[in-house]
Amino acid sequence: MDKKQISAVLKKNAMLIVLVLVYLFFLILTKGGIFKPSSFTELINQNAYVYILGAGMLMCMLTGGNIDLSCGAFVCLLGAFGGVFMIVQGLGTGVSILLLMLIGIVYGVILGYLIAYVHIPPWIATLAGYLAFRGWGTSILSSNSKTGSLAPFPVDFQNIFYGRVFQTEKGVFNVPCFVFGLAMAALVALIVFMTRKNRLRKGYEADSMQAAAIKSGLGAAVIILVMTKLSFDGGIPTTLLWVAGIVLVYSFITSKTTIGRHFYVVGGNMEAARLSGVNTRRIMFLAYLNMAVLTAIATFTVIARSQSAYADVGKNFEMDAISACVVGGVSASGGAGSVLGMVIGATLIGVINLGMSLISLDANYQRVVKGFVLLAAVVFDILSKKREK
């Protein structure tokens, strides 16, 4: 590899490198605390909502830098409804989940219709929800509970969204968890090499043997590391499965399907997309419907973890999701960005959050740091793109 290639690879993976550096920085600062098994579980559980909402926000942003301001407040409202269904009314977990999903779909349909067919600018359409939902949710909570919060959610609900698979005692090495990790790592390596072989067989450009080895090696190593840590901390959190599932599904949609392609071209040039036969309105509609459905799923992971629904739940979630996308290189004007980028962005924010709370930095300073990291990431991104031209 010559210098040019190396610098291209560095540029392409700049945010990943930043993530590693920040991690190392906190590794030293926390004297290894961030490398403990419990930190891994914490990182996943604490940030699950960022990944899930980030996937939805990514789809919205792809259509032209559009955002959803209402998702955080909608988490609060759905949480309140969930509390009423499961705790006050005592409805079954399955029924409650279905009802909450249905509410999500109804909101998504209304929002999508207003944005795609009535042409209300997205930030205005979602600002209404941002203003209304938390008030509505809080009033539901306070009329059902003296303390203003509803708790606890049923155990089976918690098991689905905040439980463990292959559960064992903490500190005991969890063999099935580790084996599962090995299997996943092997699968990743296999997929990388199969793709390469396939492309070569058909005579297309493919990664060099080196590149494929590095790619699969790194991927497998990260998976094995995480799973080893988790197998010392009681097993695989179900949140991880939800997050991984959503990330994989949306990676597939955005990179491999026609509908995903449509999201990119609508954001890249809406008129060109329309004149190429893309139903641009439907894409806008789907972006916001999808966002509302994912908000419902994010709500489940959040209220299962906190075990209660309360007025402040979901506060600033929309900003976290937007930050994850922006830090992850999703274009603020639409048409560019990837799920993998968003995952790296969300993880970076998660690592910074966790690191700062491990060294017990003042909460106000934490916000200051987050603000500057966001700005730095975007400046860095724009500058590196400028140089390409």
Partner: protein, 514 residues
Amino acid sequence: MAKILLEMKNITKTFPGVKALDNVNLQVEEGEIHALVGENGAGKSTLMNVLSGIYPYGTYEGDIIYNGQVCKFTNIKDSEKLGIVIIHQELALVPEMTIGENMYLGNECGHKYAINWNKTYSEADKYLKMVGLEESSKVQVKTIGTGKQQLVEIAKALAKKAKLLILDEPTSSLNEEDSRALLDLMLSFKKQGMTMIIITHKLNEVSYVADKITVIRDGATIETIDNHGKEPVSEERIIKGMVGREITNRFPKRENVKVGPVRMEVNHWTVHHPLYPERKVVDDVSMYVRQGEVVGIYGLMGAGRTELAMSIFGQSYGVNFSGELKLDGKPVKMRKSEADAIKHKIAYVTEDRKGNGLVLSQSIKVNTSLANLKAISSNTVIDGDKEYAVAEEYRDKLKIKTPSVEQLVGNLSGGNQQKVLLAKWMFAEPDILLLDEPTRGIDVGAKYEIYCIINDLAAAGKCVVLISSELPEVLGMSDRIYIMNEAKFVGEMKAEEATQENIMAAILRSGRGA
């Protein structure tokens, strides 16, 4: 001889790679109406931009002598100070503001920090009366029609104490009646001693108002014709100057032209403007295209060609459609949907490749497959390898110069972008291709290659509709030519009978008749 108010001497203006103006001379006498005519891209607007200081002194060669003084304008304010005011083709009014606010925009009257609204509105009303507008200057611009907005622009220029008024295609968006009123207004200004330069494509207007006519072609002054004779200068005379260029072998020959049955037919097609639904942008147009035929549609800018093509393509432009579309002899009820048009094997290759043709931030590959993703996917899952192969195939076929089909389209030259745009629509496998200005803004070599592609398409049995405002292109490429002017078809001729002169004549006849 009257005093010469303005003289532009040996003006040369070069843009990177192009000489837009080459030793252009222009003399305007005080108190006359001077018409500037020429084809699209001849350099008329560039010349006026030099005059008004939009291209500042130093970026061009030559001298501007105004009122006996050599002028060195660095911006538009400098020229306006001397009373040179330009009214651009696109109206530059803010619709939400009042007429008065618009007239004094950037030229507010009052003290340093506060605007004197009473003075503004009373002055504005005075100028509005001069242009014959009865509206109060306190109404919002958006509430008055285009014709009146044009008058507001003129009142605005008067408010700037204009001595030399430049009107760039002032009637291009006006109907017959408003146009005539505007021209008469110009004549009455002339009586009051105002000097004016008018740029226009409508030659009947030229002979009606102009005292002198300067013809510009390919960035050079061809001649200045005096219109003071007993007979007004004939339009044929002006045309000769405008199009006097020799057509050399710029178009590839088509061999063995085999024209088949009629594939597409449009009858009594009428389309209205989406914002001004009372205005017809396509008016009772009927046409047909045979298999393997290249049909040219010639018309000046704003004639309604793009509107016609886009309305056929899934009604992607306009409102209140009427008329009939027949494909292979069968009437087609098409919904307002581009996807529907593609399904019916119609393709529209847009004239504005950057604006609404290509996704510049995406790769050649993505752009190539965009209109026919179905062909490279199964159950909505894209076969990446197949897509790559398709992009490679078209890259070879159309000789798109690029290191890789993963290259972003935004990084390509205009000619190569145009090829990607064509590749996209060829891959959609249409039977009917509506090509809107397919060679706009690309160099001669790339043009020739595009012409070859068009011929190949026709040879393969496709129906090609070639829309162009370049006469030589239409003449060189088409089997049959429709002539469009002011939303109507005003002539149809076979390639053998068509000449530049009789095409222009058809346009003029229609202008006179209306």
